[in-house]
């Protein structure tokens, strides 16, 4: 299992009403990499990540995560993955500490360890220690608690959909430092983001998806042409260099 890539996807396809949202995606994410998964709005990023997490079934194709096949070895995969989804899977009627403890126990930690780790994570992520319900958290705080929850069982692979969206600069810096530290310790991170500067600074591998197909997948430095920023490369690859249409009435 250790020799296999963190994620290996072959011919992944997802259709809605006969129309493909993800159209034959092939992808390989090396272990220990910080992998950025980019694409314009509606390109199929979230659908892909939801298929990788087993939240939605595939129409066709194979998914192998950490050497285990989805969906046959679904539970084995889930035990080893930390998830930060686009719409946080947070229970609004629990306090932050209660939620983290619950997640820890769901991932197999004993109650005492889960409580202890929850307390540590609350402090690291600067989350309220008092009995404030998650439903009353700001968007940034919700992202923080979601990321804290993804860490509690010390996973080998992180699947993150826009993890820094809505997080302030201080919080984002702190979260990035934690993620870099995780990669240094052997974890793999697969994230989507619209903030290309973030991807440019963090990721060593990048794949770009457009209209459900992978249009580029390479090491970051290989993707950028000489002197080019990631934004330039992204625009070039997805072919979005067009003038906006003028509306007469506007």
């Amino acid at each position: 299992m250790n020799g296999s890539p963190a994620i290996r996807v072959r011919g992944l396809r997802k259709e809605y009403g006969g129309k493909p949202a993800v159209d034959g995606v092939d992808l390989e994410v090396p272990r220990g990499s910080f992998f950025g998964f980019l694409g314009p709005n509606g390109a199929g990023k979230t659908t892909t990540i939801r298929m990788l997490t087993g939240l939605i079934p595939t129409t066709s194709g194979t998914i192998e995560i950490l050497g285990y096949r989805l969906p046959d070895q679904e539970l084995e995969i889930k035990r080893r993955v930390g998830l930060v989804p686009d719409e946080s899977l947070l229970f609004d009627r629990l306090a932050g500490a209660e939620f983290l403890e619950f997640v820890g126990r769901m991932y197999g930690l004993d109650r005492g360890t889960a409580i202890e780790r929850a307390r540590d994570l609350l402090q690291v992520f600067e989350l309220p220690l008092e009995r404030k319900m998650i439903g009353e958290y700001s968007k940034g705080m919700r992202k923080r608690v979601a990321m804290a929850a993804s860490l509690i069982h010390h996973p080998e692979l992180f699947l993150m959909d826009e993890p820094f969206e809505g997080v302030d600069a201080v919080g984002a810096r702190m979260m990035k430092d934690i993620l870099i530290d995780q990669v240094k310790h052997g974890a793999t991170i697969f994230l989507t983001s619209h903030v290309l500067e973030v991807v440019e600074r963090l990721c060593d591998h990048v794949a770009i998806i457009d209209k459900g197909k992978i249009v580029a997948s390479a090491r970051l430095e290989e993707l950028r042409a000489a002197g080019e920023s990631l934004e330039d490369a992204f625009v070039r690859v997805v072919g979005a260099e067009r003038q906006p249409e003028r509306l007469e009435w506007l």
Binding site: L55, L75, K78, F91, A95, R105, R131, M133, E136
Partner: protein, 534 residues
């Protein structure tokens, strides 16, 4: 503007799977009311003038009471505008109010049927004056309907505000329950307070909406008819003022702030409530214990659940007691009182727990599909948590009925607990299937929102009698054969069948959750349109 709102609502309405069941249930429900309306119509068409004169005030009072009280009692106050989505647009408040008032029709459509059928009946009654009286009757009917809609709108606004306040909603539920039930409770006890006759007389006083309407529809000649017109017009104006002013107050009201949790330090693990939450860890291992504990915490903090929990026993006790009390002069009771009250509480709490297990989780239900646990564990954990609260409620009911000497002692209580446990097997089993087949996203803060989907309501309309039948058979066997052994044997068989039903339902629910998880999560993530369904 109204057209745009209705069109947006139409587009965002859910016509998913199971809609057929909802249609069947709606046909059955409104079929019954249509039959009743036709009955009322025939009475109005054929009765003698004297009979109409004596029956009309009472009938109109009943319509008013139903229109205003039933939505409160059922804790589902119908559809309403979602102001959070609409206030950003430059729409005059008056127009929004108009839509809101029209939406009040949804809370008591059955009363509209009764009113229209009765009106047609009156028009065809020669003693009332026939078709020549149509303009007069139509005008009075329109005023009466407007009065009810406006009053209903005002009451809804007031209740929405009150029920959104922490603690107030629980106290209010108790007060409403007591107000509703106290007179009937006293009647069952054959207690006649001195002022009762005066109160009864006051209800028939000239100038009240129902007496005024009766005077217009079937003039007795004892008062000038113009006073009745002034009266009903005045009441409608008063209701307009009430409804409009309360609507405006609601627009300025910040429900989120009212519901926010006061900042408090985390409770010590040794506190009573924390020990209660930790109870599952003693009885089960993780992840089941973690799921049960999470559910216990979440449910206790959900305003909608708390409200129904309180209603379950207050309404249960006070509504059912007068209905089945059989005493003359003292509060003797039916031997089935406790079990009926407990089954009522079970069905009430079922609406906000096991019939729609993922409703309050909304999109967070996805966590259960992403977590490394089989979904059967999640459903089982949710079932156990629901049963803990249901049995907590039942213990309260047993305590209260025992204190009021409304039970036949321990045997009655034990039989009730047994009957409830067997009923639960069937209902919770069906609930697991419905939770994955007809999931519906619920807003925990909206205490007036119904618990389950329309499709599920349709399903329950058909399955509820079936699921209670085995336990009813046990009581029937005991009654028919006058034998407790017969009761025990039938109950044992019912329990065995219930266990099989529960197991089969669980397997079916797990299979559905596996194949339909995407559709389930999509349904639970779905937002409402500009109109929030009740």
């Amino acid at each position: 503007m109204i057209g745009a709102i209705l069109r947006a609502q139409w587009r965002s309405m859910r016509w998913g799977r199971g809609s057929g069941l909802a249609v069947v249930a709606a046909i059955a429900w409104y079929g019954i009311w249509t039959a009743m309306a036709i009955g009322a119509g025939f009475f109005c068409a054929s009765a003698a003038l004297a009979d109409i004169r004596s029956a009309l005030p009472l009938g109109i009072l009943a319509v008013c009471a139903y229109w205003q009280l039933v939505p409160i009692l059922s804790a589902t106050m119908g559809s309403s505008l979602d102001m959070r989505k609409l206030l950003v647009y430059p729409v005059p408040h008056g127009r929004l109010f108009l839509v809101e008032v029209l939406l009040r029709i949804t809370t008591a459509l059955e009363m509209l049927l009764v009113v229209v059928a009765s009106g047609i009946g009156l028009l065809s009654n020669a003693s009332i004056g026939g078709l020549s009286e149509a303009p007069r009757l139509l005008a009075a009917g329109a005023l009466f309907i407007a009065f009810n809609l406006l009053l209903s709108s005002g009451l809804r606004s007031v209740l929405e505000r009150l029920l959104s306040k922490r603690r107030v909603r629980e106290v209010l539920a108790l007060v409403v329950a007591l107000l509703w039930v106290l007179p009937r409770f006293l009647m069952a006890l054959e207690y006649k307070p001195k002022g009762l006759m005066r109160f009864g007389g006051a209800l028939q006083a000239v100038g009240l909406p129902w007496t005024a309407m009766a005077d217009i529809l079937a003039p007795s000649g004892s008062h000038p008819e113009v006073w009745a017109w002034i009266s009903i017009f005045g009441w409608a104006c008063l209701a307009l003022w009430f409804g409009r002013s309360q609507f405006e107050r609601n627009l300025r009201y910040d429900a989120i702030a009212a519901q926010s949790t006061p900042i408090a330090a985390a409770r010590p693990r040794t506190s009573i409530i924390e020990r209660f939450y930790a109870l599952p860890s003693i009885l089960w291992r993780d992840p089941l214990a973690a799921i049960v504990e999470k559910e216990l915490r979440s449910m206790a903090r959900t305003p909608r659940f708390r409200m129904v929990f309180i209603m379950g026993f207050t309404f249960g006790l006070v509504v059912w007691f007068p209905m089945i009390a059989r005493g003359h002069g003292r509060a003797t009771h039916s031997p089935y009182f406790l079990v009926i009250v407990c089954v009522y509480a079970l069905s009430m709490l079922g609406q906000v727990s096991f019939f729609n297990s993922f409703g309050f989780d909304r999109s967070a239900a996805g966590f259960y599909f992403a977590a490394p646990q089989p979904i059967s564990k999640t459903l089982l954990g949710k079932n156990i948590a629901a049963m803990i609260y249901i049995f907590l409620e039942v213990f309260i009911l047993c305590g209260v009925t025992a204190a009021l000497q409304l039970t036949d002692g321990w045997t009655d209580i034990l039989r009730t607990l047994l009957a409830l446990a067997v009923c639960s097997l069937y209902l919770v089993g069906i609930g697991n299937v419905s939770s994955v087949r007809f999931p519906r996203a619920l807003t925990p803060e909206r205490v007036a929102q119904g618990g389950s989907s329309r499709s599920l309501n349709g399903l329950m309309f058909l399955l509820y009698p079936l699921s209670l039948a085995p336990v009813a058979l046990a009581y029937l066997a005991e009654f028919a054969l006058d034998s407790e052994i017969a009761f025990a044997v039938v109950m044992l068989i019912a329990a065995a069948v219930g266990a099989i039903v529960y197991r089969q339902c669980m397997q079916s629910a797990v299979a559905t959750a596996s194949t339909d998880r995407e559709a389930i999560l999509q349904e639970l993530s779905r937002g409402d349109g500009p109109v929030v369904s009740g």
